[in-house]
C-alpha cells in the first residue's frame, strides 16, 4: 500500500512540475479578464488563497445569490448571450451544484476540458467526473471537493440498541436496508427514533437509482429505489421510527441535542462540522457522543463543480485552474488541512486517513477521513437528468410529506406532485 502511495506521489509531483511548466506557456493572445460566475464566496476564498493568477489577468467574480433561482437566471442569460458578449464580458468558468449540473453539462454552453488540457482524472473520485460529463462521456468540468455522506450515529444510543458503538461493528449491523429497517424496530422498543426526518435517508436511495426520473420518451417514472424510499418513509412514520418533518426543520434539529432520542443522521463532513450546531452546543449538546460509518448505501450530498464555458477567451488559464484544484498536491492538502474539506484527490485524502492526528473530537476521536476514503469510491452519479432537482425536492420535501403528515391521501399527494412537474416542465409526461 505504502509503495503505491509513494508511486502516486511521485507521479503527482511530476505532474505538478508539468503544470508549473505549462503555466509559462500562457498565450499572449488570450483574454485579460477571467470571469467566474458563482452563487457564494466559498470557492472564491480558496481560489484567492491557493491559485496564483497569471500576470496581467484580472479575475472578475460575478456572484449572484441563489435565492429565488436568481443565480441560474442570471447565469443562463449570460451563457445564452455569450456569443454577442465582448471578450472581456464572456463567462470563462462557472460553478454548479450536483442537483442541476446536468442542465449545463448536456448543453453546448460547456466545453470539453480534455481538449483544453485537463486529462488526468486518475486521482479524482469517479462520481465527480461522472457528474461533470455529458451523455457522451465528454468531461466538461471538475469538482474541487468530494462530499461522501455517512451514517452519523449517537454512540450512547447505539450501545443501548446494538450493544456496541464501534464503527465497524455498527456498520456490520446496518449495512443493508433490511438490517437498517429491522434495527429501527429494535430502537423503537427501547424508546428511540431511528431517524429524525422521513427524508434523512432520501439521498441514500436517490443516488443509487438504476433508471432516470424521465425516460427517453419524456415520461416520468419511479425508480425502484425511489419507491423503496417511499415505502420506508410510510412505514417509519406510521410506526413512529421517524417523524414527518424536513431535514432542516426545527423538529429535526432539536433531536440533535443531548436529550434527543434519535439514533441516526446522514450527512457529509460539512453537515456534522457546521450544520449540527445543536449537537455541538456546550450546554445542551452532546459532542463526542457521535461516530460515523458507511451505512446501508454509499451516497453523497452537496459539492461544487467548476465548469468550462464555451467561448471562453482564457482556455489555458481555465485548464490550469481545474488542474490545480484536482491534481496539485500542495493545494489539495491545504484544502484538507486548513479548510476542513475532503478534497477531490484520492492520494491526498489517503494520506490524512492514515494520519493519527486527524481524529475529530466531535466524533469521539474517530478519523472521519478513514471512513470517507472507502465510502467515496463507491458513490455513483448515474441516470441523472436535468429534471432531478425538482423531482427529488418536490417529492420528498413537499408532496409526499403532506401525505405522511396526513393532510392529503396518497392519491392526492401524487396528483399534486404531477401538477408541480407539469407546471415546471411542459414537455414531461406524467402518469
Amino acid at each position: 500500500m505504502k509503495k503505491i502511495i509513494a508511486l502516486v506521489l511521485t507521479v503527482m509531483m511530476v505532474a505538478a512540475l508539468f503544470t508549473v511548466g505549462g503555466a509559462t506557456a500562457f498565450a499572449d493572445d488570450e483574454g485579460k479578464v477571467f470571469n467566474i460566475y458563482a452563487w457564494n464566496e466559498e470557492f472564491k476564498g480558496f481560489f484567492e488563497k491557493y491559485y496564483e493568477v497569471p500576470e496581467g489577468v484580472t479575475v472578475n467574480w460575478i456572484i449572484v445569490p441563489n435565492a429565488d433561482g436568481a443565480y441560474q437566471n442570471a447565469l443562463d442569460e449570460a451563457l445564452m448571450n455569450q456569443e454577442d458578449a465582448a471578450d472581456d464580458e464572456k463567462v470563462d468558468m462557472f460553478l454548479a451544484e450536483a442537483d442541476y449540473i446536468v442542465k449545463y453539462t448536456n448543453s453546448g454552453v460547456t466545453q470539453d476540458i480534455e481538449a483544453l488540457g485537463v486529462t488526468d482524472f486518475s486521482n479524482a473520485y469517479t462520481y465527480t467526473v461522472q457528474a461533470a460529463s455529458d451523455n457522451a462521456n465528454t468531461v466538461k468540468g471538475v469538482s474541487f471537493q468530494c462530499c461522501p455522506s455517512a451514517l452519523i450515529y449517537r454512540r450512547s444510543i447505539a450501545k443501548d440498541v446494538l450493544g456496541t458503538d464501534d464503527p465497524a461493528e455498527v456498520q456490520a449491523q446496518l449495512d443493508s436496508w433490511d438490517k437498517f429497517n429491522a434495527v429501527a424496530a429494535k430502537a423503537k422498543e427501547k424508546g428511540y427514533m431511528m431517524t429524525a426526518s422521513d427524508a434523512a435517508t432520501y439521498r441514500a436511495f436517490s443516488n443509487n437509482v438504476t433508471s432516470p426520473w424521465v425516460d427517453a420518451d419524456n415520461k416520468l417514472q419511479f425508480d425502484p429505489q425511489i419507491e423503496a424510499w417511499m415505502a420506508q418513509a410510510e412505514d417509519f412514520v406510521a410506526n413512529g421510527y421517524t417523524q414527518a418533518a424536513g431535514i432542516w426543520s426545527d423538529e429535526c434539529t432539536a433531536q440533535m441535542f443531548g436529550d434527543g432520542k434519535t439514533m441516526c443522521f446522514f450527512g457529509p463532513a460539512w453537515y456534522f462540522n457546521f450544520s449540527m450546531g445543536n449537537a455541538q452546543d456546550p450546554e445542551k449538546g452532546c459532542p463526542g457522543d457521535w461516530a460515523i460509518c458507511e451505512g446501508p448505501a454509499a451516497h453523497f450530498w452537496g459539492g461544487t463543480w467548476l465548469l468550462a464555458a464555451t467561448g471562453s477567451d482564457n482556455p489555458t488559464m481555465l485548464a490550469d485552474v481545474m488542474n490545480t484544484f484536482i491534481n496539485d498536491e500542495e493545494v489539495c492538502s491545504a484544502l484538507v488541512e486548513n479548510e476542513a474539506q475532503f478534497c477531490n484527490n484520492m492520494a491526498v485524502n489517503q494520506k490524512y486517513a492514515e494520519d493519527p492526528n486527524f481524529g475529530s473530537e466531535f466524533l469521539g476521536g474517530q478519523n472521519p477521513n478513514a471512513v470517507f476514503v472507502d465510502l467515496a469510491k463507491n458513490i455513483k452519479f448515474e441516470n441523472q437528468t436535468q429534471y432531478d432537482q425538482l423531482c427529488n425536492e418536490m417529492l420528498q420535501d413537499k408532496a409526499f410529506r403532506e401525505y405522511l403528515k396526513g393532510s392529503v391521501t396518497k392519491e392526492e399527494a401524487m396528483e399534486n406532485f404531477y401538477k408541480i412537474i407539469n407546471e415546471a416542465y411542459p414537455n414531461v409526461v406524467t402518469p
Binding site: 449545463y104 448543453s107 418533518a245 423538529e251 413537499k398 403532506e402 415546471a424 416542465y425 411542459p426
Partner: protein, 305 residues
C-alpha cells in the same frame, strides 16, 4: 367663457401627462404586450434549449381551464384561494385602519403618544416579507414557542401542526398580511382625513354634532375618494399576493394547494422553464379577474352619492 379656457389650457394636460406615458410605454407597456402576445404561443425552455415560439391559438387557455382527474379546474381553485386570503386579511385591515385614522385625527380623543403609535403600526411594513415569514415560521413550528405554550397550558397534548391545516395556514397568512399592511392603510386614510378642511369639523362641533354624526356626515363622504383608492389598491395587491404565502409554505401552498395564490401559480410556470406561453395566459386571466372586480367595486362605491 369656460369652454375657451378649456381649449387654451388643454395642451398643458398633455404636457403634464406625457412623462408618465412615455416612461410607461418604454418600461412597462412593451413587456406587458409581449405577455399577452406570448399567451398565444408555445414558448418555454427545456433546460437551456428554447422551445418555440410556435403559434398555438387558444391552446394555453384551454389547458388552463381543463379539469384535472378529480374535476377541479386549478386556476379557479387558486382564484378562490386568493380571494379568501385577501378577504381574511383586507376586511380587518381596512376596518381597523379606518378606526385608527379616526382616533388619531380626533381632537376630542386627543390621543397621547401618537407619534409612537403611528411609527410602531407602520413598522412591520419595513421588514422584508421573506424575513417576516422566517420569523413566523420559527414561532409556529412544531417545536416553536406557540406550541410550547399550547402544551404547557394543557390545550393540546401533541403539537399543533400549523402548516399542515388549511385554516391555520390561511389564518397565519392573513394575520401577516394584516400586520404588514394595516399601518400603511391607516396612514393613507389619516392623510386623507387631515386633508379635509378643518373648518368643517369646527363648524360641526359648534353646531353640536356628535362624533358619529361628524363621521358619517363629514368625514366619510369627503374621505370617500381615498377610501375607494384604499379598497381598490388593497384588492389589486391582494390578487397579486405572493411573497408571504410563498415563503411561509415554501412555495407549495400547503396543505393540498389550498394556500396557492394566482401569482404563486404564475411563478410555477415562470420559475423553471420560463414558460412565457402559459404564464402569459395566466396573467391575462388575472388581468381580467382584477379588472372586473375593480370595475364592480369602483362603480358600486361611486354610485351611492
Amino acid at each position: 367663457m369656460k369652454k375657451q379656457k378649456g381649449v387654451s389650457y388643454a395642451k398643458w394636460g398633455y404636457i403634464f401627462v406625457a412623462p408618465f406615458i412615455v416612461a410607461y410605454l418604454i418600461f412597462t407597456f412593451y413587456p406587458q404586450m409581449l405577455t399577452i402576445y406570448n399567451s398565444f404561443f408555445e414558448n418555454y425552455r427545456d433546460g437551456l434549449n428554447q422551445v418555440g415560439p410556435n403559434f398555438v391559438g387558444f391552446d394555453n387557455y384551454v389547458k388552463l381551464f381543463t379539469p384535472d382527474k378529480n374535476g377541479v379546474i386549478d386556476i379557479l381553485k387558486y382564484t378562490g384561494n386568493t380571494l379568501i386570503l385577501w378577504l381574511l386579511g383586507a376586511v380587518p385591515q381596512i376596518l381597523v385602519a379606518l378606526l385608527l385614522a379616526i382616533f388619531f385625527t380626533s381632537y376630542r380623543l386627543n390621543i397621547k403618544g401618537q407619534q409612537f403609535f403611528k411609527t410602531v403600526i407602520y413598522m412591520p411594513n419595513l421588514i422584508m416579507a421573506s424575513a417576516f415569514s422566517m420569523l413566523f415560521f420559527t414561532l409556529f413550528s412544531n417545536v416553536g414557542p406557540v406550541n410550547q405554550l399550547i402544551q404547557a397550558w394543557g390545550w393540546s397534548d401533541v403539537p399543533i401542526d400549523f402548516f399542515a391545516r388549511k385554516f391555520t395556514v390561511r389564518g397565519l397568512i392573513s394575520l401577516m398580511n394584516f400586520l404588514m399592511w394595516f399601518g400603511n392603510t391607516t396612514i393613507l386614510l389619516m392623510a386623507g382625513i387631515m386633508g379635509i378642511d378643518q373648518d368643517l369639523f369646527e363648524a360641526a362641533n359648534l353646531d353640536g354634532a356628535s362624533a358619529t354624526q361628524t363621521f358619517f356626515k363629514i368625514t366619510l363622504p369627503l374621505l370617500k375618494p381615498i377610501l375607494v383608492y384604499t379598497i381598490i389598491t388593497a384588492m389589486i395587491g391582494g390578487l397579486q399576493m405572493f411573497d408571504v404565502p410563498q415563503v411561509l409554505t415554501n412555495g407549495a401552498g400547503t396543505p393540498n394547494r389550498t394556500s396557492m395564490t394566482l401569482i404563486m401559480y404564475l411563478n410555477n410556470y415562470l420559475g423553471k422553464s420560463k414558460n412565457y406561453g402559459m404564464a402569459g395566459a395566466v396573467s391575462v386571466i388575472i388581468f381580467i379577474i382584477t379588472g372586473i372586480l375593480s370595475l364592480v367595486v369602483y362603480r358600486s362605491l361611486n354610485r351611492k352619492d
